[in-house]
Amino acid sequence: MTPQSLEVNAERPRWDDHELLLSENRPLGPHHLLRFEAPTLASRFRPGQFLNLNVPGHVLRRPLAVLRQEGDDLELVITPFGPGTRDLVNLPPGTRLRALAPLGNGFPAPEEDVALVSGGAGVAALLMTAAAALKSGRRVHVFHGAPGDEDVELIKASYGELGLEVEYYSEDGSYGRAGLPTAGLERLLADGVAVGVYSVGPYGLMRAAALLALEYDRPAYVSLDVHMACGVGACLSCAVLTKSGQKHACVDGPVFAAEEVVW
């Protein structure tokens, strides 16, 4: 199926092409935190939405979650991966970029306590949900996983700023607990704690978290990472197979309920 049209989904905020001014770019371990002035986007993002950011010298924009938004300021966390993100994390403050935003459906507001299961820059897509949950008085359990200790600074600059305690898992045991963050989630769920599960990170991590939540009959949401060109429903590149047919991550997602996804 082609994406639902804007007419059908009227509450989706209308996106446009906005100008962003890079005001700060600092490394957080292997990641970079980029802060922008984006007055025309002030308060436009819901938790889990994203923008499609241009990169000078590149033909396509890059989809990125919004870590934080305060007034005119907007922050992204970018992990250099291929040519585009490598160029992005090298841009000097003062650079003007453009972004299609706000895009995507975002996470549903938590209706109970939440468990966040993140890996790498997946934190970016979860932080606004964490803040919203705290604001509405929910408890927030955080399980974060990484190959080693490289995400410590990222955790501090994100969950840390909200005063959240993070159960950190490293695969090589170099920091926090050894193993995968789904171990923490499983313990929590096995203890019968009633949480909604939100997971963003590598596919394997999201899948494991989603299957655990389904096993314990808890609601769970993931943000799927699909290669995108337009970001707005026009190119059909971001197909996702769901139990109700083929969807498109940029408009029908990137957030999907765990039980909807064909894992």
């Binding site: 199926m1 082609t2 994406p3 049209s5 804007l6 007419e7 209308r14 446009d16 092409d17 241009n54 590149h58 033909v59 396509l60 924009r61 291929g82 040519p83 585009g84 453009r98 299609l100 699909v226 290669h227 995108m228 060109a229 337009c230 970001g231 707005v232 429903g233 026009a234 190119c235 059909l236 590149s237 971001c238 197909a239 996702v240 083929q246």
Partner: protein
């Protein structure tokens, strides 16, 4: 004076810059940004007789100044578009070029008949594989292409463009199509290409290979439009990597009467209108019109 106005196969276009098939869907996604009637025209996503799910993901990846796509012709099928999208699109006042395809001549024809009431022009995508012809695309088999074209011509009263592929010689196919009664040509479709994922030691795309588009292929587009123009009197809709007004004028010089913008729209949804405005500014500075440029690289100096 409207410097940009151009007539093409009996249809009046307010400006020569149209969207390229598959890069603008049916226009709904961009309709809140500007009135679609301001575009020269919208070329729709390719429409087939029945719904097609498309290729496995990843379906796109970037390359130096280009991108590869292997969408796999995903579409909802002609009946859904005739029900939901095409009437809406005509209501917007937009000129509409409907891109059609199938896996045999009768299927192309059936789609053409159904979309005709909403189409100013029909564009026949010949790059799809000919399932009864050893999967060689129609675009590379002059006789098969001509049979498709005749079937479509019989099925519609709208002018019919044949969309040519740069992955094989174009002149023999163009000659066969002209013989079969085609009204005009559009080109270029994408060049076949591939990118490797070094971590997985595998092609990046789910479909392994995909179609290369964007500025990287512009020189190939300019050359093929130029060559075709020397070999036909039929009008040409040119495309391939157009991102600026200067790019559009390059294609015009080569012989394109209309110019489509595809990949550039992903990075800038206003691209078709911006490019038309840039062309207008360049022409105004010289006191010239678009038609002064069409094919001008061929006229004696």
């Amino acid at each position: 004076m409207n410097r940009l106005e151009v007539e093409f196969l009996g249809v009046k276009f307010p400006n020569p810059i149209v969207t390229a098939s598959g890069t603008f869907n049916f226009g709904r996604e961009y309709a809140h940004l500007y009135p679609l009637a301001k575009l020269g025209a919208i070329t729709t996503k390719g429409v087939s007789p029945r719904p097609i799910t498309g290729a496995p993901t990843p379906r796109i990846t970037e390359t130096p100044m280009g991108m590869l796509n292997a969408i796999g012709l995903e579409n909802k099928g002609v009946d859904a578009y005739v029900a939901d999208e095409l009437p809406w699109l005509k209501e917007q006042g937009a000129r509409v070029i409907v891109n059609v395809f199938g896996d045999e001549p009768a299927h192309f024809a059936a789609v053409a008949t159904k979309v005709s009431p909403y189409a100013d022009l029909i564009e026949v995508n010949l790059s799809c594989p000919n399932v009864h012809g050893g999967n060689l695309p129609f675009a590379h088999d002059p006789q098969a292409a001509a049979v498709v074209l005749r079937a479509v011509k019989d099925a519609t009263d709208r002018p019919v463009l044949a969309k040519l592929s740069p992955n094989g010689p174009i002149l023999p196919v163009a000659a066969a199509l002209e013989e079969a009664g085609v009204d005009g040509f559009s080109l270029i479709n994408t060049l076949l290409g591939m990118r490797m994922d070094l971590d997985r030691k595998r092609p990046v795309l789910g479909n392994r290979q995909g179609g290369l588009s964007g500025p990287a292929i512009k020189p190939v587009a300019v050359r093929l439009v130029y060559e075709l123009f020397r070999n036909t009197d039929l009008p040409i809709l040119g495309m391939g990597g157009v991102t600026t007004g200067e790019d559009a004028l390059e294609l015009a010089l080569a012989g394109a009467r209309l110019v489509a913008v595809g990949t550039a729209t992903f990075a800038d949804p206003y691209a078709p209108l911006r490019i038309a405005a840039e062309v207008d500014r360049l022409l105004a500075g010289r006191g010239e019109t678009w038609l002064d440029w069409v094919g001008a690289a061929h006229t004696p100096n």
